[in-house]
Structure formats: structure tokens, C-alpha cells
Amino acid sequence: MKVASKPASVSQSLTPHDVARIRANFPILGERPHGKPLVFLDSAASSQKPVQVIEAMDDYYRRYHANIHRGIYHISELATEAYEEARSKVARFIGSPCAAECIFVRNATEGLNLVAYAWGRQHVGRGDVILLTEMEHHSNLVPWQILAQEREATLRFVPITKDGQLDLRSLDRLLAGAKIFAFTAVSNTLGTINPVTELAARAKSAGAVSVVDACQAVPRMPVDVTQWQCDFMAFSSHKMLGPTGIGVLWGRKELLDSMPPFLTGGGMINVVEYERSTYADVPARFEAGTPAIAEAVGLGAAVDYLQGIGMERVHNYEHELAQIALDKLGALSNVTIYGPGIEHRTGVISLTVGDIHAHDLASILDRLGICVRAGHHCNQPLMEKLGVPATTRASFYIYNTPEEIDLLVRGIEEAKRIFKIA
């Protein structure tokens, strides 16, 4: 790490000492798969959890679990408060002026579907355009395909450049007639950081609502919806130190207020008669049934943890790791790295090694205790575009170290030896 020589950035990033302290909070880092220390380089798929998050949920179940909202007794009041407090924490974390703008869903995927169903079905008609990009995760692609099929709408795609950035030269033409522009803030395959503020502004000028897939952004960088000026944004708890089973759809209040319910049942109603019902205000309107209460508590603890570090520092540290990784991996023969240069990307790095298939590489690394993802990363069409069947992806987070990058480099060298590649 070049920290020592860059004093200005020290306070803005994590020191080895900080990282050591962080690592001590993650019990799983003590595991030894195949007898090797765990080197977890798959946080883009799902991050690990600090004890603070695990214990917050544990504590919830041991001390104050009860169904929320309709309970008058003490522990139900505590549970209700904790659930709503988690919503407020999330809202503050993403710069939302109003907690009611944060809907708890299962994961980002459900959040994106919610928009496609509840907003999309209301506004998208025959011949309308839905604009996406060529780097979307299946979760920000398939829901729009289905909407387009149902409504005979047209899908368009912002193309990507050779180095994996959005090619915005024809954006205005593509946006013409668009009702929706859905795009990712950060590519989960290429690591590309997209210019969200610009994209949202241009969507608005064209009369389209902007839907931001912030799955890879919220865990890794300061995100502020007020600054981004987008309309909807979805992300998952499990990628940002929080539990599985919960995610967030954020939406501008006026838009959410105008939308019909999607999933219906207990908790989202106002008056129910046998034949018809009226519905509660947001956010309750979009949270049918007993919600993921313990998970909200866990997500709140994850937000606290990240805020305790500071998202600027999280982002800068990951950037440093990305720089080191690009330098070291880029120096290896027969290694191809996809995506843009360091100034446009975050710590998600996809690569291929000679003719070694990604699965074979991942299997070999696994034996060294190194966890990477191999495959299409829910980006099948992008893989076609890149002309590879699959890539191996290493992704870094606050608990990773430069030493782990060295282990990755050695692992790749070993794979080359086994596959008899120079």
C-alpha cells in the first residue's frame, strides 16, 4: 500500500492498522477452507458481515422479537421502533430527505421489479421506449424485457466502448421517446463507475424517469440521491455488510405516492371490505405482509458500521486496492483485464487467463483458499459482447489487504503452471 508516501490520503483512506481492526470484526475471516486462510475476493456477489451486524440480529431475536405495527405491548413497540429506525438510518445514509421514500424489499431485484410493475404498468404503453445499457445485470434487464413484451414497448441500449464505459454520444437520440432510463451506477462485471448525475439529468430532460441500479455503488462509495437527482434507486443489504433477505427501493415521494400497490395483503391496507379495499400511504403501501424485521435491524447496524468508517474512506481504500491489483495483475503475461482504467472504476476486476476457463481458474484458486467468482456474473449479453464465455472476477472490500492481492497473483501463476501456460 502506498499510504505512507501519501500523507494527505491517509486520513481519507484506511491504514493497515484500520484494516486489521476491521478484519477482527469479521468472524468468517478466521476460517480455513482447504486448510488455507480464507481470502475472500467475492464481495461484489455478497459481502461478509461484521459481528456488529450479526449481534444486532441476535439481540433482536433474544430480546425483542415480535410482529410490528399492530402490537400494543412493549416488545412489539421496541420491534416497531427498531424497524422504522432502520428505515431512517438507510434514508440518511443515501441522502433521502424522507424515510418514507425507502421501501424495504427482499433484494434489489425485487425493488427493480416493483418499479417495472407498479410504475411501468401504469405509464409504459405501445411504442414507448425503455432505455437500458449494454452493461446491465439481469435484474435490471429481464424485468424491462417482460414489461416491453407485455406493452409492446421498445427496448434500447446505450452501447459500451471498447474499454467498458458507456458510449454517450448517441444518448439524446436513444432517449427520444423514452419513458424509463434504467442503468447501473457501477458495473458488477467491469467495475465501471457511471456518471449517474449526468445520466439522471439527461433522462429528466428527455421526460424519462431514471431508475438507478445502485447494488454495487451503495456499498462502495458515498451515494446521495439528492445530489444524483434520480427518480428510483435499488440496492441490496447483503452486499453492504448487512443480512440476506432485505433490500431497499428508494423512490421520490411524489412518484411513490402516485403508484398503485404491487404486492398486497396485511399491513399495506387502509380499509378492507370483502369486495374492495383502500391502501395505506407509502412506505407501508409497498410492504405487504410481515416484513423482514430482524433483517432491517441488521441492515441498520450495517449502515452504522459503514458510516462509522465513512464512505469516502471506504471508497478511497477500495480504489487503492484496485490500483494495486490492476498494476500487479496487469503485469502478468497472458492475463486480460476487462473494463476501464483506474480513474473510471472501482475494485471489481474481471479477467481471463490464457485459455483457462474461468471455472477452472476459480477451482484452482479455491484450493488456495481464494474465493473469486467465475461465470457470466448475471451479465450474459455483456459476455457475448466481450466475446468471452465467462470471466473470473475478483472484488475487494474494506477487509481485504494488499497481501491478499499478492496471494491472488501467486494463485494465477500456479493455475498457469498447471495449465502449462507461460
Binding site: 476457463h357 477452472d360 484450493r367 461465470g375 459476455m383
Partner: protein, 132 residues
């Protein structure tokens, strides 16, 4: 560090790499009696097989695919095994046979890779000889 990989050198033995890099019966067949293609959606491995039968015997077989060394070598090996066999014989080939032919230990996560070729072969056979 080499000893770390005993399992890996075992898995990626020379003949596996050879089948991966020089797949036997690679390509497609003009006028095949049956063609079947499948993929493993979770990892993207893909294999297509073309069969030509004569008098209940697999006269020719070709495969085309992409994916990991395990899936491609396994398919390649399989084409060698079944070529010239009767449909009935080929239909009796099971998972165990495939794994035995590969002669290596496969972890749970990679089992689907090793068996994709067999799955495609079975489907192609049932297209070619539906009464079987």
C-alpha cells in the same frame, strides 16, 4: 507452494487438458439424425451434440461447446466412448461411468460441468430413437 495443488494437478491431468485443447469429434454433422444443445445456466457452459445413426448404431457423433476444461473434456471423452456403440448401449451410460472415465475427483460445484455432456447425449439419443 506446489503441494497445495496435489488435488488440482490430479484434476487437471494431462489427458484432460489434452481433450480440452484438442477436443475429439469436434464440430457439427451435416444431415444429423438428432441434434441437441443445452447449457448450464448458472455458469454458462454450453454443449451441442449431433448424432448420426445407422441400424441402431451411433455411426457418427460430433460436439461443439464452450466452457470449462472439465465440461469440454468430459464431452470429448464421451463422444469417443459412444462412437460405434449401439443406441441401447449408449443409453445405459450413467453418471458413474462418466466420472470413472474422467478418472478424477469432482467437487459438488463442478459435478454439473462434468455431467453436462452426458445430459446432452441422453437428450440427443431420445430424439434420435424416441422409442427407446
Amino acid at each position: 507452494m506446489q503441494d497445495d495443488f496435489s488435488g488440482m494437478e490430479e484434476l487437471y491431468r494431462d489427458f484432460i487438458l489434452d481433450h480440452y485443447r484438442n477436443p475429439r469429434n469436434a464440430g457439427t454433422l451435416e444431415g444429423a439424425d438428432a441434434t441437441y444443445e443445452d447449457n448450464n445456466p448458472l455458469c454458462g457452459d454450453r454443449i451441442r451434440m449431433d448424432l448420426k445413426l445407422r441400424d441402431g448404431v451411433i455411426e457418427d457423433i460430433k460436439f461443439k461447446g464452450r466452457g470449462c476444461a472439465i465440461s469440454q473434456a468430459s464431452a470429448s471423452l464421451l463422444t469417443e466412448v459412444v462412437k460405434g456403440k449401439t443406441v441401447a448401449e449408449a443409453a445405459r451410460i450413467g453418471k458413474e461411468d462418466v466420472l470413472e472415465n474422467l478418472g478424477i475427483q469432482i467437487s459438488a460445484a463442478r459435478l454439473k460441468c462434468a455431467l453436462l455432456g452426458l445430459k446432452v447425449l441422453k437428450e440427443a439419443l431420445s430424439l434420435a430413437a424416441p422409442d427407446l
